[in-house]
């Protein structure tokens, strides 16, 4: 049960964002820019960053939701599974491997990011903007994961929920749905 009363038809992050819309607006806007805005990283690659950080923070809700989104965007589910287990073995570019390793360091702490980790990413062709956005996406998911679990929001266990949610964040992005969420009330 959540630590505070949240709308029961909206598990995970959505109920929190509806509970506090003043704070949700900038969080949603930031996420939309970082994960769906113009970028030289694909949307699938950026979802991998979100997933690996959520996985290492052991946030089941965010990990499952962003795995679903990454799988849809990449058109397969092997890459995301491999990224969570062993970045070096995953079928992603050398640049992505270096960026995902930076994201994992950010998950531990900002100070854990070394000059060396950044140099490797740059040597593999990562731009300053790609490094910036990787660090900020990783940092943003350190917020989300703590928000979701710190208030004990509900984590659904049925796979269909995450299939639906993955489709929603792929097709509609991270802005609030224009019609709100009342249609999800059972």
């Amino acid at each position: 049960m959540p630590h505070i009363p949240l709308p029961s038809h909206l598990p995970g992050i959505t109920g929190l964002l509806e509970y506090s819309q003043d704070t949700a607006d900038p969080i949603r806007e930031l996420t939309q820019i970082l994960l769906r805005g113009d970028s030289t990283l694909s949307q699938g690659e950026r979802e991998l960053v979100a997933t690996v950080v959520s996985h290492n923070n052991e946030c089941t809700f965010c990990t499952t939701a962003h795995t679903a989104a990454a799988d849809l965007l990449l058109g397969e589910s092997v890459t995301c599974e491999m990224v969570k287990k062993d970045i070096d073995a995953a079928p992603v570019s050398s640049k992505m491997k270096a960026l995902l390793k930076i994201a994992k360091l950010v998950q531990q702490s900002g100070k854990a990011v070394t000059e060396e980790a950044v140099s490797i990413a740059k040597a593999e062709g990562a731009t300053d903007l790609e490094i910036h956005d990787t660090v900020l996406i990783a940092a943003l998911f350190c917020l989300y994961n703590r928000y979701v679990d710190g208030l004990a929001s509900v984590t659904p266990t049925n796979p269909e929920f995450y299939e639906y949610l993955g489709e929603r964040i792929v097709n509609h992005g991270y802005n609030r749905l224009p019609q709100g969420y009342d249609h999800l009330k059972k």
């Binding site: 630590h3 505070i4 009363p5 950010v106 702490s109 900002g110 990011v113 950044v118 928000y147």
Partner: protein
């Protein structure tokens, strides 16, 4: 030197990053403003103290000192009193309710799952309501983001408290939507 080339290397901490990427700066500033200065039954001073306290736990000198300076500005105290935040408030008067909220923030800093029902219960018994518990968790979570952003890109930070005096006053009384 930061890990990436910033257009103005003289701007410290998050200010240099905001200057590098104005598009993300806007919602980041708006989030800080609504969390720390928006309508709430927690005073802005209390919210800045939570922000500064969590930033210290994350070992982020820039955020700890700048938000500590903002708290001191709200409290009309000298900036050097912010050092008391690191020693768990020996001198700064802190209510029992705020102590229980700081305990929740401390757990959020380690990881969301560390927050237990009994921590929430203790805060409620000290008078905290749902919104205050929500805001505390979100402020702590948000500073786990801001701190990683600032240090993960290797920005520089002035060392001495005095360098944060004006910054703290601006954060407290002008806010985070203009920087």
């Amino acid at each position: 030197m930061a890990h990436i080339s910033l257009p103005n290397e003289e701007l410290p901490g998050i200010v240099g990053l905001f200057n590098f990427r104005p598009e993300t700066a806007k919602p980041l500033g708006a989030l800080a403003d609504v969390l720390l200065r928006g309508p709430s039954s927690l005073s802005s001073a209390d919210r800045e103290l939570i922000a500064s306290y969590v930033s210290n736990l994350n070992n982020c000198h820039f955020c700890h000192t700048s938000h500590g300076a903002a708290a001191m500005a709200h409290l009309s105290c000298d900036v050097n009193l912010l050092d008391d935040i690191k020693q768990d408030f020996i001198t700064i008067p802190v209510s029992q309710k705020l102590r229980t909220l700081l305990a929740i923030a401390t757990k959020v800093q380690k990881g969301g799952k560390n927050v237990l029902e009994e921590d929430i219960q203790t805060a409620r018994e000290a008078g905290a309501n749902d919104e205050e518990i929500h805001d505390t968790v979100l402020i702590a979570a948000a500073f786990c983001m801001f701190n990683r952003y600032v240090d993960g890109l290797g920005t520089w930070a002035p060392k001495e408290n005095d360098a944060y005096r004006e910054m703290g006053e601006r954060m407290a009384f002008v806010g985070y939507n203009r920087y």
